[in-house]
Amino acid sequence: MSTTRPRIRRLPLNAAAVLTVLVCLFPVYWMVATAFTPTRDIQSDNPRIIPGSWTLDHFRTAVGATGFGLFWRNSVLVTLSAVLLALVIALGSAYAVARMRWKGRRQFMLMVFIAQMAPWESLIIPVYIISRDTDMLDRLPTLTLVYFMMTLPFTIIVLRGFIGTIPPELEESAQVDGCTRFGAFRRIAFPLLAPGLMATSLFGYITAWNEFTYANFLIIKQQDHRTLPVWLSSFQNVFGTDWGATMAASTLFAAPALVIFLLLQRHVTSGFAAGAVKG
C-alpha cells in the first residue's frame, strides 16, 4: 500500500510528462522517419508509425537536386562570414564595455539591447529599397551584412559577460611583465575566452543559418545566390509531391542545428535561456 500509493499519485504527472515528450518529439521524428521511408509506403493508405522498410533514396534525390551543393555552399559562406565579422567587432565592443570606463558606456549598452530587439520583420521594405538603390540586390554580401547585424547585439551582450568573468588582474600582471595591453589580452584573456566565443558563435551560426525572410526577398533574380532555407521552402514546387525527398532535405537542413543544440544543452537550459535567444 505505502509503496504503491505515491506511484499512483504520480501517475497523472508521469502521463503528462510522456505526453509532453511525445508532442515535442513527434514532428521531429516524423520528419526523419518519412525521409527514410520508401515512397510507396509514404503514399499508402495506412501509414505506419515505425517504417517497415528503410531507404536512402530520398537523401540521394535531395542531395542530387539541382543547386543543392551550390545553395549549401552559399549558406555556409554567408553564415560563417557574418558570424566571424560579428565576433571580431563584438569582441572590441565587449572589451571596451567590460574593461574600460568611458562616457556613454551606458548609452552604448542601451543601444545594444534595443538593437537586439530590432523589428527585422518590419524593416524588409526599406532594406530591399536600399539594397536596390545601392546595387546590392541579389548579392551574398548583402545577406552577410544583414545577418551580421542580426547577430551582433547578442554577441556583444554575451561576450561582455564572458570578459567580465575573467579577472582583470591576470592581464594587469602580464602588463607588469612587459606585455602590451593588446598582447596581454591576446595571450591571457583570449584563451580563457575561447569557450565563450565558441558558444556565442554557435548561436549566431544557427540564427544566420535559419534566416529565411531576407534571403527570400533580397535574392530574387540571381537564383544561384539563394541559400538553403529559401531552397527548402520552394522544394515542394521543385519536387511536386515527393514528400520523402522534401523531408530528407528538411532533415539535412535541420541536422546541424539539432546536433549543436543537444551538445550545448546544458548552456541552453541554464544561462542562455535568460539571454533572450530564440533558436
Binding site: L13, N14, A17, T20, V21, C24, P27, W30, M31, I42, P47, I89, G92, Y95, A96, R99, M100, W102, R106, L110, F113, M117, P119, E121, S122, L123, I124, I125, P126, Y128, R132, M149, L152, G164, P168, E172, V176, G178, T180, F182, W209, N210, F212, P229, L232, S233, Q236, T246, M247, A254, A257, L258, I260, Q265, V268, T269, A273, A274, A276, G279
Partner: protein, 329 residues
C-alpha cells in the same frame, strides 16, 4: 594600488583605467587622459557604425517612404514626392487594414495565452519530475527549440497534408470520417489553427525552460511553510510560486508578444497569408502590399504602425529587464 602598478608598467598602449567593476576613485592618472578617451570609442566604432547604417538608416528610410508617394515608378526613376500623412490616412480609412489589425491581435492573444499557459504547466511539471524524467523532458524541449523554422514549417505542412498526412489518417482512423482528405490549408479557420499550433509548438520550449529555471530559484522553505499552514496546491501557486517568478514571467510574456510578429516566416511559407487572407497578420500585409503590389509607401506605413504597436510592449520589456538585473551598470 593599481595606479602605482600602472605607472610602473612600461607605458600601457591602451592607457585606460585598470578595469574595476566598482567605481574606484583615484585610479586615473591625468597624464594619459587622451588615450583613455580615444580607445574605447575606436573599439565600439564599428559596432556603432554598423548599427547606424544597417538598423537606424533603414528605420529612418521606412519612415520617409511612408510619408512619400512611392510606387514602382518612383522605385525605378526616383524623385518620390512627399505627401505628408496621406498614406496613413489611406491605411486607417481602409476596412481591410482594420481587419488585418484585428486578426493580428486575435492571433497574438491566442498564441500568447496558449504559450504562457502551456509553458507554465510544463515548467511546474518538470520541477516535480524525478531526475530521469526531468532530463528527458528538458532534452525533448531543447530539441524542439532547435528545430529550424523552415524545417518545422515543412514538417507541419506534411503532417496536415490532405491526402497522405498522418493527422488526417489518425483522425479518420479514430472515426472522424469527415477528416478523410480534409484540405486543412483550403479552409481559413483550419489554416489559422495550424499556424497557431506551429507557433505554439515552437515557442513553448523557450518559455517553459526559462520559467523552469525561474522556478528552481524559489526557496523550498516557502513551500514547506505554506503547506504547514494548510494551503492547497492552487493556493500555493497563486500566493507563493507565482509572486516569486512574476518578474521572469512578465519578461517571457512580453517577449512572446513581440515575437508574435516573427510568425511572418511560418505564415509566408505555409499559407502566404491565405486562403483568402485568413492568416494575413500585419507584417505579412505590409510585405504583400509593398513587394507584391508595388505600393512601397503603404507597406512602409503599415510596417511603421506595426513598430509603434510593438514599441509599447518593448518599453515594458526593457523596464522589466533592467529592473530584473542591472544590466547597464
Amino acid at each position: 594600488m593599481p595606479a602605482v602598478r600602472e605607472q610602473t608598467a612600461p607605458r600601457p598602449p591602451l592607457g585606460t583605467d585598470p578595469p574595476r567593476r566598482s567605481p574606484a576613485p583615484g585610479t586615473s592618472s591625468p597624464s594619459k587622459s587622451s588615450g583613455r578617451t580615444v580607445w574605447p570609442y575606436l573599439l565600439i566604432a564599428p559596432a556603432v557604425l554598423g548599427t547606424l547604417y544597417l538598423l537606424v538608416y533603414p528605420l529612418i528610410r521606412a519612415v520617409v517612404i511612408s510619408l512619400q508617394d512611392f510606387g514602382l515608378r518612383q522605385l525605378i526613376l526616383g524623385h518620390a514626392k512627399f505627401v505628408g500623412f496621406k498614406n496613413y490616412g489611406t491605411l486607417l480609412g481602409d476596412g481591410h487594414f482594420w481587419e488585418v489589425v484585428r486578426r493580428t491581435f486575435l492571433f497574438m492573444a491566442i498564441n500568447v495565452v496558449l504559450i504562457m499557459t502551456l509553458s507554465t504547466l510544463v515548467a511546474l511539471m518538470v520541477e516535480r519530475l524525478g531526475r530521469f524524467g526531468r532530463t528527458t523532458v528538458l532534452s525533448a524541449l531543447v530539441l524542439t527549440w532547435a528545430m529550424p523554422v523552415i524545417s518545422a514549417t515543412t514538417v507541419f505542412q506534411w503532417l496536415f497534408h490532405s491526402e497522405f498526412g498522418i493527422v488526417n489518417e489518425v483522425l479518420t482512423g479514430l472515426g472522424f470520417e469527415s477528416f478523410d482528405r480534409y484540405p486543412w490549408f483550403a479552409h481559413g479557420p483550419a489554416a489559422f489553427a495550424i499556424v497557431v499550433a506551429l507557433v505554439v509548438w515552437q515557442s513553448v520550449p523557450f518559455a517553459a525552460i526559462t520559467l523552469y529555471s525561474a522556478l528552481t530559484t524559489v526557496p523550498v522553505e516557502l513551500y514547506e511553510s505554506a503547506r504547514i499552514d494548510g494551503a492547497s496546491g492552487p493556493r500555493i501557486f497563486r500566493s507563493v510560486t507565482f509572486p516569486m517568478i512574476r518578474p521572469i514571467f512578465l519578461l517571457v510574456f512580453s517577449l512572446e508578444v513581440i515575437w508574435t510578429f516573427k510568425a511572418f516566416v511560418q505564415i509566408w511559407v505555409m499559407t502566404n497569408g491565405g486562403p483568402g487572407d485568413a492568416t494575413t497578420i500585419l507584417p505579412v500585409y505590409a510585405v504583400q502590399t509593398a513587394l507584391s503590389h508595388q505600393r512601397y509607401d503603404l507597406g512602409s506605413a503599415a510596417s511603421m504602425v506595426t513598430v509603434v504597436l510593438m514599441s509599447g510592449v518593448l518599453v515594458f520589456y526593457f523596464r522589466q529587464m533592467f529592473r530584473q538585473e542591472d544590466e547597464l551598470a
